[in-house]
């Protein structure tokens, strides 16, 4: 079986989540399984009540970066959440919340968007990652 792509998402800003969603959709289109592990502020952005909100951009974006990102969105670029939804329809994409981060943010799985398939610990993540590469965003 093909080795999965494993993404650890830590940052919750829209630009980093967009980059992660693009990597995920590309892998799914190639038939590569993707495991996503949501930690800290990335997990916060997957809250059902906040997923559609503005999550800001990484500090290096600056004002010009903000305009560039807004322009792309205005031109019809799919949001990161929509891109992930399509990736999940297309291929084998499993999104898990880090149980430690769930405790930290005082969340239950029912607080999360249905994009999130479950809650697991880091050991389960490593086991599923197998020999595939792990990318931290």
């Amino acid at each position: 079986m093909e080795q999965p792509l494993n993404l650890v998402l830590f940052s919750g800003t829209d630009d980093k989540l967009q980059a992660a969603a693009v990597l995920t959709a590309g892998a799914a289109a190639l038939g590569k399984p993707v495991n996503i592990f949501l930690q800290y502020w990335a997990l916060e952005s997957f809250r059902a009540d906040r997923i559609a909100e503005d999550h800001g951009l990484a500090p290096e974006a600056g004002a010009a970066g903000r305009i560039a990102v807004d322009d792309l969105a205005a031109a019809g670029q799919a949001s990161w959440a929509e891109t992930l939804r399509q990736a999940k329809e297309l291929g084998e994409v499993d999104i898990q919340a880090c149980s430690l981060s769930m405790d930290l943010l005082k969340l239950e799985q029912t607080d999360l968007d249905p994009l999130v398939d479950g809650v697991e610990g880091v050991t389960a993540f490593y086991l599923n990652a197998d020999e595939g590469r792990i990318v931290f965003i």
Binding site: A25, G26, L90
Partner: protein, 78 residues
């Protein structure tokens, strides 16, 4: 060369990476083996992406042309 009958057209003009490939993968998955789809895209990355996707998935890139800013690809499912 036999005439290729295109069963579906995918309009990905104006869509940015990776949506042209995502839509292509979705559409090709739904057509029978041997059938072909046409993809229209404006994302310049799609030139290399479509070729790479076809190589990786075993589907055949039958045609690739460009009309100014619009790229046209014909892909036949393996």
């Amino acid at each position: 060369m036999p005439v290729i009958e295109i069963s579906q057209s995918i309009d990905a003009r104006g869509l940015s990476c990776p949506m042209p490939i995502v839509k292509t993968a979705q559409t090709v998955k739904a057509i029978p083996s041997g059938a072909a789809v046409e993809l229209l895209a404006t994302d310049p990355g799609s030139i290399k992406d479509v070729a790479a996707w076809c190589r990786a998935t075993g589907n055949e890139l039958v045609e690739q042309t460009s009309d100014g800013a619009v790229y046209r690809f014909v892909i036949r499912r393996k």
